[in-house]
Amino acid sequence: LPDVFLRKLMRNIEIKDRLSLRLTCHAFENLVANSHAGHFEAAFISSFTPDKLHLVLGNTSFYGIEWSNEVIEQRLLLMNSLFINISIGEFDFNIDDNFTAVSFVRDLISNFKIGTVGFRVDSKCQLDNSLLIMSDFLNSNYTMDLCFLPETEQLLSLPPMEELCIFTRSKISSELFIKLLDMHKNLDLGYLIINSDDLMTAVRTVSADTRQREIRLKVERSGIVSCLRDYGVSEDSKPGDFYDELEIVHVKKIHKLMHLRFDRCFIELKRFAWTGGDWNVDLTISNAEQKPSLDPSI
């Protein structure tokens, strides 16, 4: 078969089948090692099982590694024998504080092209390691799930992300939120303290952005009530009412749901009530072309 055809063919072969093809004959063992593996939508690597490393490429899993130099060398050799390059749409990393693991992973993926590099980060050490991996993929997009609140200086030094999620019990200030909003495309932040001026700044920012953006926040119910009252919105506001450029689109008190619009920006409040305890309201600010789904049954 023509060489150009074989190289094209190898871009359509699953990783697991490349492993089998290595066993067919010398010529195909070489072809596997020296051809592009094509594109895979997703890959995942985790080192959270003690002393094990779990790598998923497409529909193929690689599991278990001892951190001895000999074994590491063997694994790197296998990865280098499977393809010369590979393209991954989204690669998610969940690597613990083990520096050997990070160093191994960096070597392992040195010939990867990755569209979006995603991280789940539980500690400062893991954040530092994630930044090392990011430095190897400067042309990729990034996403990050932060399960702790880093020092503000380090948080603000992160590169721009497609999506930054911060899951923490620590409260995030309004000022920090506005800075993060300017840096990252999509945000998912828990326990935010926000004032009406900064909330309106966020709404105007999202509305004016040509990119499709979504900002998901958890804000104390009383804080949201205070913001809405500052805009002139009240318990008696109904769909179609305008408060300057802010329009009430949908109100369903029984479902604790309210939709508002500001120019191109939709604002959704879930678990919202004008009175009650201090639970968190789910606030979504988005300029997605599609309006928030309105269940016709409500």
Partner: protein
């Protein structure tokens, strides 16, 4: 510009000749280059014969595929890595390949068409046959792969054992 009625005669490696519309041959980089290299008047009817290194039976299959795909966009859209997939073979093409499955020498026919697509530089046909062969290989055992690809195992037992040991990191 390709005139629909303009025709070109192709002579095959086994001495046959067939005259086809330029609407079909425009999809072949090789034939189009040959015509350009002749520097003949595009209005000459028929054009001088173009020799192709493909046998008559295979060329008939290629022409059948070209006839179905005569209106495909040119230049052939090269797909990015992200767009490339093997499960999007058009229904007509699947049936075209399935038809070979009734033949005893189905594998030889597929290989002959692949080689012809490569020689004639027909990117769409090369792409389709590539996906077809990939789909035949994926999920098969090593033995089945050797059979499909007509390969002889030239490994020693020790070499096979070594590769199996390397592959063992993969759990499934």
């Amino acid at each position: 510009r390709i005139y629909p009625l303009m025709r070109v005669t192709l002579t095959t490696s086994d001495g046959a000749s067939v005259t086809v519309s330029r609407q079909l041959t425009k999809h072949s980089g090789f034939i189009e280059k040959a015509i350009t290299d002749m520097a003949v008047d595009d209005n000459a009817v028929p054009l001088s014969a173009v020799a192709v290194d493909v046998d008559d039976a295979t060329l008939k299959l290629v022409i059948e595929w070209l006839t179905e795909h005569r209106d495909d966009a040119l230049p052939y859209p090269e797909k990015t890595d992200e767009e490339r997939r093997a499960d999007d073979i058009p229904a007509w093409d699947q049936a075209f390949v399935q038809k070979w499955d009734t033949k005893e020498d189905q594998q030889q026919t597929l290989y002959a068409v692949i080689t012809a697509a490569d020689k004639l530089d027909i990117k769409g046909l090369l792409d389709m046959t590539c996906k077809t062969l990939a789909n035949k290989i994926n999920g098969k055992t090593v033995e089945e792969m050797r059979e499909i690809l007509q390969l002889e195992c030239d490994f020693t037992e020790e070499e096979l054992a070594e590769i199996r040991k390397e592959n063992a990191w993969c759990e499934n």
